[in-house]
């Protein structure tokens, strides 16, 4: 399993200031949220699609194609069945299938799929360190951002440790693929124990390493990563705010959330 969605590239989207990316994704979320019909969602999806192409992230769209399709289908199914339809074609217990429910389900499925496409765009063009830096710049405590980046970096280490345990057990003749899918899941669960113990062993060493580097010292923190504002950032920021404003006005005058 590839443990990162980030696409290593030097596109205009990759070069944006992290704060602009965070504000931008917020604006896109606002626009996607206000879209009350597929007619309002589809142009936004087209903009996101164009940005995914610009950010070199279409490979990630392909990688997550079944996920996006399932999000669309399941959202459509859930809301078609559970919307409180006023004139249902069919009603049975909590299930009320009707025109208004199907219409809402289609709009919500478009909206939710757009949300995830926006998330995919953000993660394809933003490193977790940039995200943590942006959170720090907008007032989130530095230690919280640090924990996020440290945890993100530790995930592959724990996955590697788990895979090593699996390989060791296989060498001893244990068959992880025996039985139905539930039994197979159950075979993997004892693997958690050595990974957990390994994590505990690391904890002390990591704490000492951090303190040796003055982790708890007061005062502003310095970083090798520096960010500069440019014209591209200003254009992206204004464009994102205008996009959110346009969709808000569209929803206000043509009906939306």
């Amino acid at each position: 399993m590839k443990l990162s969605i980030y696409v290593v590239a030097n596109t205009p989207l990759h070069r944006l200031h992290p704060v602009v990316k965070v504000v931008g994704i917020f604006c896109f979320f606002v626009a996607a949220f206000t879209a009350g019909s597929p007619i309002q969602s589809l142009p936004l999806a087209a903009v996101v699609g164009a940005l995914l192409w610009l950010g070199g992230a279409l490979a990630n769209v392909w990688r997550f194609r079944w996920f996006l399709a399932l999000v669309f289908f399941m959202t459509f199914l859930v809301w078609s069945l559970f919307f409180h339809s006023e004139a249902p074609w069919f009603a049975w217990g909590p299930v009320r299938l009707g025109y208004d429910g199907v219409r809402f389900a289609l709009a919500t499925a478009c909206r939710l799929t757009t949300f995830f496409a926006v998330g995919l765009l953000f993660l394809s063009t933003t490193r977790v360190e940039e995200f943590a830096d942006a959170l720090g710049m907008i007032g989130v405590p530095a230690k919280l951002g640090f924990v996020m980046t440290l945890a993100f970096r530790l995930v592959p280490a724990f996955v590697d440790a788990a895979l090593s345990v699996v390989q060791a057990q296989r060498c001893r003749g244990f068959d992880f693929d025996r039985g139905n899918w539930l039994e197979r899941v159950r075979h993997y669960l004892p693997v958690i124990v050595p990974v957990f113990i390994g994590a505990l062993r690391r904890a002390d060493l990591m704490a000492m390493a951090l303190e040796a580097r003055g982790f708890q010292l007061p005062g502003p923190r310095t970083s090798y990563r520096t960010y500069a504002w440019g014209w591209g950032d200003a254009i992206a920021l204004v464009g994102s705010v205008m996009l959110a404003g346009t969709w808000l006005l569209w929803a206000r005058f043509a009906g939306g959330n």
Binding site: F83, L112, F146, L150, A151, M206, L210
Partner: protein
């Protein structure tokens, strides 16, 4: 609740937060391929981790569970719902250790029926609080009805924790204790002056979770109405009914948390 802030001054606790987050995310990510509601929730055996870490690392597990859930969503499902996932998982990591230490002095290694009963109650409460916040938030956003998601999250959390957490705690807790790596050993004994208020807080949390789950299901299905939500705001999604109807319950939950 003061330790939730104070722990950031202890480097070991900061490391425990990162360990909880990464362990949680590392087990969440492979199971993203087994979705229950795609983009919203999936089969989550990893949900045992916040409970185990809560008993081991205390307040660090609350922050770790919240951050770990966000990292897990980086691999499928990152969106505005993550805000509610953050708060819900924070409660899921906070309530087990806090409730347990308030109700008993025993170690969280289950030996007899009383231990199992208490553990079930504690995990049920934490799962319910998590389900209440996430179910409410995602229904307000119009993503998934509370009566679908709230119940799935509650059952998912309960199942994972009841099936895996006792087994993991039995193996891991004594080792962590021997190494001086439990939160009680790292932070020292907490002050006991506010125990009475803490019990009031626990009562409020229990009441909010019980009433909230019942009311959320009722409001979401349209079978229950509350006087502070007018007829005109019901709507097809139940977003306004659930949003406004559950708001006072969530305020009580928050108040209970502060007192705990």
């Amino acid at each position: 609740m003061r330790e939730l802030i104070a722990m950031w001054r202890n480097t070991r606790m900061v490391v425990f937060t990162a360990l909880t987050a990464s362990l949680y995310a590392a087990i969440l990510i492979p199971f993203k391929v087994l979705p229950i509601i795609p983009g919203v929730t999936e089969l989550r055996p990893a949900n045992a981790i916040p409970v185990v870490c809560s008993f081991l690392f205390g307040p660090a597990a609350a922050w770790g569970a919240a951050i770990g859930n966000v990292i897990g969503d980086f691999f499928g499902g990152f969106g505005p719902g993550d805000l509610f996932g953050f708060v819900g998982n924070f409660l899921y990591g906070f309530l087990p250790y806090r409730t347990w230490e308030l109700l008993t002095q025993r170690r969280p290694v289950l030996r007899g029926p009383m231990d199992w009963l208490l553990f079930t109650a504690v995990v049920g409460l934490a799962s319910g609080a998590c389900a209440l916040v996430i179910g409410w938030g995602l229904n307000v956003l119009g993503f998934v009805p509370f009566r679908v998601l709230g119940n799935i999250v509650w059952i998912n959390n309960m199942l994972a924790s009841m099936l895996l957490a006792p087994f993991l705690l039995a193996v891991v807790y004594p080792r962590a204790e021997r190494g001086g790596l439990t939160y009680g050993q790292v932070l020292g004994r907490r002050e006991t002056g506010r125990v009475g208020l803490a019990y009031v807080g626990l009562g409020l949390v229990v009441g909010a979770v019980g009433v909230g789950m019942w009311l959320g299901n009722g409001l979401s299905s349209g079978s229950v109405r509350v006087p502070w939500v007018g007829e005109g705001v019901a709507g097809g999604t139940g977003a306004w009914a659930v949003g406004l109807g559950l708001a006072p319950v969530l305020v009580v939950l928050l108040l209970g948390m502060v007192l705990l």
